[in-house]
């Protein structure tokens, strides 16, 4: 009798242990990151699309930080994307053409905008937070439109010329440089975020998401943690925005718009929130499908994306990655 209960408790303990995050790179992750490298060679005519998928993927991951890990539903995340894009774009237009410093400046500016906003976002109910983020996104759009003498307004900011990276890679029409640049930046930032998410700080965020009222009981400062992750997410979104400004040499006011925030949310949920890779998977699937399907019939595209959203929410919880996870646990032999 005693041995049976002991073995049961051991298997239960190992089952729990397998869900705790650890920082070792899994095989699947390594394969995942080899895919964009492979795609560069296998799909040479799709490099521009590929670079934009990577950039949007990073943007989606930044939303995942606040949505999947901290539980804040935001409909205004594009505000930080746009702020980063304009920061990098304006820097280039006014004479500083080096790309890497552009990224750093964009991250800092976006974080500087994100930090005060974070104070507003940590209070209130879900609906309140939704509206506050939405309202701030909309106001920022109005500001960018009003300040058209700086931002170019609705017509956009042209003339964002970027020097070749490290003096070697010119931004060419085939998108080769854009792709390599985007992949490198996205990978590096992702590695940093992965480390954060697997740290005690990241764990505490999950605790906050699951039960914010209980967290102070273990001494975790809820509001401060939320503000920190919100600011980090803003900075990362800013980097993504800067990437799009630098690789397309243009900043449109749509980078700040509500449709961008809404589409981002959809992509993240499609891929699966709270799993860090969900943003990348969702962005890839969404943009590839959109590129392929909207050529066939644009009206159908909107219908089917709505349909899939409904289906995912009702039946395929956790998006693609969630579904794969469920599949994996189902297929795993029972202990």
């Amino acid at each position: 009798m005693a041995t049976r209960s002991a073995s049961v408790s051991i298997s239960r303990a190992s089952a729990v242990a397998s869900t705790l995050p650890d920082d070792r790179w899994k095989l699947l992750e390594i394969v995942f990151w080899l895919l964009p490298v492979l795609a560069f060679f296998v799909f040479p005519n799709y490099r521009v699309l590929g670079s934009q998928i990577l950039i949007t993927g990073l943007f989606a991951v930044s939303l995942d930080l606040i949505l999947g890990y901290a539980g804040i539903v935001s409909l205004g995340h594009a505000a930080f994307f746009g702020v980063g894009a304009y920061a990098a774009g304006l820097l280039a237009v006014h004479g500083w053409h080096e790309p890497i410093t552009g990224l750093v400046v964009a991250a800092i500016v976006a974080a500087a905008v994100g930090y005060p906003v974070s104070f507003l976002v940590v209070r209130g109910s879900d609906l309140t937070r939704l509206m506050v983020t939405l309202g701030i996104g909309l106001m920022l759009w109005e500001v960018a439109n009003k300040a058209a003498f700086v931002t170019g307004g609705v017509d956009g900011l042209a003339g964002v010329t970027i020097d070749p990276i490290f003096g070697v890679g010119r931004f060419d029409i085939g998108g080769r440089t854009a792709y390599v640049y985007a992949l490198a930046v996205v990978f590096i930032v992702f590695v940093v975020l992965r480390r954060i998410v697997h740290s005690p700080f990241g764990l505490s965020l999950r605790g906050i998401r699951e039960g914010a009222k209980r967290m102070p009981a273990i001494g975790a400062p809820v509001a401060r943690r939320l503000r920190t992750i919100f600011t980090i997410a803003a900075a990362v979104a800013g980097i993504a925005g800067a990437l799009i400004a630098q690789t397309t040499q243009f900043v449109g006011i749509d980078t700040l718009g509500f449709p961008r925030s809404a589409e981002l949310l959809i992509m993240l949920v499609l891929g699966g929130a709270g799993r860090l890779y969900g943003g990348l998977v969702g962005a890839a699937l969404f943009m590839i499908a959109q590129d392929y399907l909207s050529g066939i019939d644009p009206v159908y595209w909107q219908f089917w994306i709505g349909f899939f959203l409904v289906v995912i929410v009702l039946f395929a919880h956790g998006g693609i990655l969630g579904g794969l996870d469920t599949l994996r646990t189902r297929l795993r032999p029972r202990q």
Binding site: L265, F303, G306, F307, V310, V313
Partner: protein
């Protein structure tokens, strides 16, 4: 100058009344089922298209289309509630947001497919056009009509909620659904009927509003911000909250655009953010 202030106030109240009519249904569904329904604009759009189609293709007079718009939107709401929405009452707000966005996308695609992407022609009957000329003041007839309709509607809804059996069932279910069920109230039926009522009100608001707001397939997305604004600032689960919020927002929006047009566009958003910071649960929140 006094005439101008009253004129601006009047215009603001009319605009606010319009916002309220469309948003009140959302307040009820949000407050009762705690469901963040971004597809609320879809029901308004249904009401709008029903109104336009009946007027242009069947020659039905404008006022007669209003109850039909209400009924059509209520019916669609009822069907959707029973089949789909009901499964998501316990879901997370994110799921609800995404689900309702999915419904919005599908409705926009369907409307584009059936009616085309352009604006629909809206022609009010002549007795609702023009202005009423009072000494020192000109008041738009249609805006007066909107204010009157909203006032009447508010009274009817208040009566419904306060004095009827159904109303008390709704209020009981809002306060505590489990206890209400325990008392023998068919909570499912209450939810379904309330959702239908909320959708119907949206449809009515849509039909009333298309003269001001225009009607094309992107209607639900274009104005969703305004409905959410009214409900989040006003507080869900009550009627008083959204009414006051809608009127305040309407007046400030019009006043801002009239007196300070340079910042006109900001006023409504800035006001919303400020009010939400001061009243995170809305002006008159009801939910326990």
């Amino acid at each position: 100058m006094i005439g101008n202030v009253i004129g601006v106030l009047f215009d603001g109240l009319a605009y606010g009344s319009l916002l309220f009519i469309i948003a009140v249904g959302l307040s009820v569904t949000l407050g009762l089922m705690n469901f963040v329904n971004l597809a609320h604009g879809t029901f308004a759009m249904i009401g709008g298209y029903v109104c336009v189609l009946l007027m242009t293709r069947a020659g039905v007079p404008f006022l007669a289309t209003l109850p039909i718009a209400f009924a059509a939107a209520a019916l669609v709401g009822l069907v959707l509630e029973v089949t789909l929405y009901r499964r998501l009452y316990k879901a997370s707000p994110l799921d609800q947001v995404l689900f309702s966005i999915g419904i919005v996308f599908m409705s926009i695609a369907m409307a584009t497919y059936w009616f085309g992407a352009s604006q629909q022609p809206v022609a009010l009957p002549s007795y609702l056009r023009g202005q009423v000329h009072l000494p020192g003041l000109d008041l738009g007839v249609y805006r007066l009509f909107l204010i009157v309709v909203v006032a009447a509607l508010t009274l009817v809804l208040q009566y419904l909620l306060d004095r009827t059996r159904f109303g008390s069932q709704v209020r009981a279910s809002v306060d505590n659904a489990t206890a209400a069920a325990g008392l023998g109230i068919d909570v499912n039926r209450v939810f379904a009927l309330t959702f239908a009522l909320g959708s119907g009100l949206a449809g009515l608001g849509g039909a009333l509003g298309i003269d001001v707001l225009g009607l094309d397939p992107t209607f639900p997305l274009k104005y969703i911000v305004y409905f959410l604004l009214v409900v989040s600032v006003g507080g869900s689960g009550t009627m008083k909250g959204p009414l006051i919020a809608a009127l305040i927002l309407g007046v400030f929006d019009v006043a801002g655009k009239y007196y300070l047009p340079q910042i006109g566009g900001f006023v409504i958003y800035a006001l919303m953010v400020i009010l939400l910071i001061v009243f995170p649960a809305g002006l008159y929140a009801r939910r326990a």
